[in-house]
């Protein structure tokens, strides 16, 4: 079906990707919504502390446990802190946890995966065994072990999330690299004097970037959920820093006693973010998936 391309002069470079992205958004409304949600998250993360009505850390015991009202849109928590401000300000920390852990696991798992898929032999076996070992641990317990061992700072939470996603990235990268190992353009690159590592980084990596991006957006969702889980068992972010996971964990005790808003709004925010990342993942796959690119 190369009918269309031959005649109409196709737009070049960046314009092409933008046109293509615009097409996918209009073609698939859900992905459009996902991009919208992502923008909202980024705005909250960047401008959070400046646009919130109250200081997220200021407690006001007189106004503790108030239901959502005009003054406090999301109500107040047990120390009288404004939940709306805390939810908005928490975006920055949660997005940071998501972005950094995904970047870390992409660098480690992605590269290791490509190397093992591309070189095969011993590299493949060693990396395979390492990721098997990590897989043998129930993922969440491993994360807890790491955070319990190294202390529950945000950096350790990011490292723990990265480690437990390592096998997933190795597997995806490995299969994509293995397919392309004997591709024509890789052989051609060998012919023109590129060393194996240069081929790996300049030829294979860019070609599998799209697929990895899909994976990265999905894992961002799981990273935040993981942080929330750690908070629930007391290994999460240190108080009083606002973070969705810990706010939901603390609010959970108040559901039965009727103060549903303490847990609900951070829960919804968490859901909003994870939802956005998952839909973004599917959307990216549609943009990136060659079959869709008829």
């Amino acid at each position: 079906m190369t009918l269309a391309t031959a005649d109409t002069p196709a737009p070049r470079g960046l314009a092409a990707t933008l046109a293509h992205a615009r097409y996918v958004i209009s073609d698939n409304p859900v992905t459009g919504i996902a991009f919208g949600m992502f923008l909202v998250l980024v705005v909250c993360a960047l401008l959070g502390p400046f646009i919130v009505p109250y200081d997220p850390l200021a407690s006001d015991t007189a106004a503790a446990l108030q239901a959502p009202s005009a003054a406090h849109w999301f109500g107040t928590d047990n120390l009288g802190r404004d939940i709306f401000s805390r939810v908005i300000v928490a975006t920055r920390l949660d997005m940071a946890i998501a972005v950094f852990s995904v970047a870390l696991v992409f660098a480690a798992g992605g590269i290791a995966g490509i190397a093992s898929g591309f070189f095969g032999g011993w590299t493949d076996r060693i990396i395979g065994r390492i990721s098997d070992t990590i897989m043998a641990f129930p993922l969440f317990v491993l994360a807890m072990g790491i955070v319990a061992a190294l202390g529950n700072t945000v950096t350790n939470i990011v490292i723990a999330t990265a480690i437990i996603n390592f096998p997933l990235y190795v597997r995806v990268a490995r299969s994509e690299a293995a397919i392309r190992r004997q591709a024509g353009f890789v052989q051609a690159a060998r012919l023109t004097g590129n060393s194996e590592w240069r081929i790996l980084l300049t030829t294979i990596l860019p070609n599998i970037m799209p697929i990895m991006m899909v994976q990265m957006s999905l894992t961002m969702g799981y990273a935040i959920l993981n942080a929330a889980g750690l908070s629930f068992i007391g290994l999460g972010v240190r108080p009083p820093t606002p973070e969705w996971g810990i706010m939901v964990a603390e609010g959970a005790a108040y559901i039965v006693s009727g103060e549903w808003w303490i847990a609900l709004f951070p829960g919804l925010a968490l859901m909003f973010a994870v939802f956005c990342f998952n839909l973004l993942g599917d959307g990216l796959r549609d943009i990136v998936d060659p079959q869709r690119r008829t």
């Binding site: 269309a4 097409y23 024509g184 051609a188």
Partner: protein, 601 residues
Amino acid sequence: MHGIVDVTAQAAKTSEAPSGPLLEVRDLTVEFATRRGVVTAVSQVNLTLAKGETLGIVGESGSGKSVTSYTVMRILDRAGRIAEGSITFSGIDVAHAPESAMRDLRGREMSMIFQNPRAALNPIRTVGRQIGDVLLQHVQADARNVKEKVIDILKQVRIARPEERYHAYPFELSGGMCQRIVIALALACRPQLMIADEPTTGLDVTTQKAVMDLVTELTRERGMSTLLITHDLGLAAAYCDTVMVMEKGRVVETAPAERIFRDPQHPYTRKLMRATPRPGITLKDLLPEEPDVPPAPAENPLPLAGEGRVGAGASTMATVSGAGAVPLLKVENLLKEYPRQGAPSAFLSGLFGKKAPPEERIFRAVDGISFEVKKGESVGLVGESGCGKSTTSTIVMRLIDPTAGKITFDGEDISAIPAKDFAHHPLRGRIQMVFQDPTESLNPRYTAERAIADPLLRMGGMSGGAKLRARVAELAEMVGLPQNLLERFPHQLSGGQKARIGIARAIALDPDLVILDEPTAALDVSVQAVVLNLLEELKQRLGMSYLFVSHDLHVVGLLCDRVIVMRQGRIVEEGSSQQVLDAPKDAYTRELIAAIPHPPV
């Protein structure tokens, strides 16, 4: 399952159908909703097919021949729809028939076979059960006698040991065998119409002949009509009563087979005829004749429009040095062995103590071959798939290491250097390669310009800037690639344009030897003609020598001085292309040549 219908009664029903033509297509127009708006794939197509008649639809990729056949069967994908026109099949208006009615027709009254047979079969279901499914679906059999009926059909399509093959899975059968299963599937319910969409593309020429003979014999025996879709004019001529030529969605000419070849009316048909490689012609003859067009055809503005090669072998311009000089490339009893697929690895079999006999464990892709290539000479390596020609070329390219054997290039033994270190060897730049599938050989992330510049950046000692851009422009101009296409990505270019980029990249470092691995197999025949001529001219101008690997004897005959025929890893015949094509000494070569269908020109 209502009463069992006796198969013979079924056959009787079809014969009483109204006498008119079996299939009639009137002004058919089909449109596809794609990303850049609605695209008309086929417009105003008319065709009639009488009972027992075989109609061939010939056209290049994108001509709409497949779309027409899919529309007749109404299995277009979601994006396609019939904009206007009518299709009547033995009295039924197919265009507006409800899906349930169509489902009864498909498989029972009309059926289809497809291009690559192994992918056309369900990989995880035995072939016997797949044929059985069709029979059970169309009430041609019931649970008790379905196995016996399937075995009977397998016999009809000449499959040996059908009881055993009933339980086989597609991956356990050869390409030709799979195609027979697909045919069996199609003919199971004795349909009136068989549509064959490029049934033999990708198969070896000998298997191709066997499959086509089988199809024609079965369809004639049962009085079925056939619609053969192909891009191979030779095939259409040999097996069709009438031929219809299509170009960019339109029918340009329809005529009985022998008349269309003897006296083609439409210029496009003539262009196709000329571009089809056939014995006894020169490269120039492939190009469309230029009635009043200025000598240099617009497509490749080559200043030195050298006139055609005088006879085979010696080409006037080539600096073919005398026989005495040191040959550019010398290959001495090259051997390459692979562990047989599925054989237990040495480690495991060692573990369990039982050692399988050597032959069983080892598969010899290249079995001790020797040949030479002199400076400026182009040698053809011909053979069917699995004969080891590609393995040989990859070894000579030093992409993989041989098990044994010596390769000397320009006096230096390059087989000693392991493949993975050869990338930095000074000789690297002097041996280059053009790959078979142009799309797969270009990095999707690089523009055309970046792809051509890559070798220059790495080995050509150029670091970028004006000098590099000038060299790339010069190369593009040499291969006839318009300058404005340089910033485009591979997915925005046509097959021919991508092939030219592959060639430009190969000659960027002024190599002495270029290995061409089936460079035009994936191209349309008209584009192939242009590319072959381009290769010939480049050889003349730059004094390179070629090692041309192909399965198509005619194409090799046109371009190469000498031809080597290979079979199961061994050389069976070697000689000048003239002598091998006209008077082949070896029986296998003769069989190869005979099997290639070519138009009765």
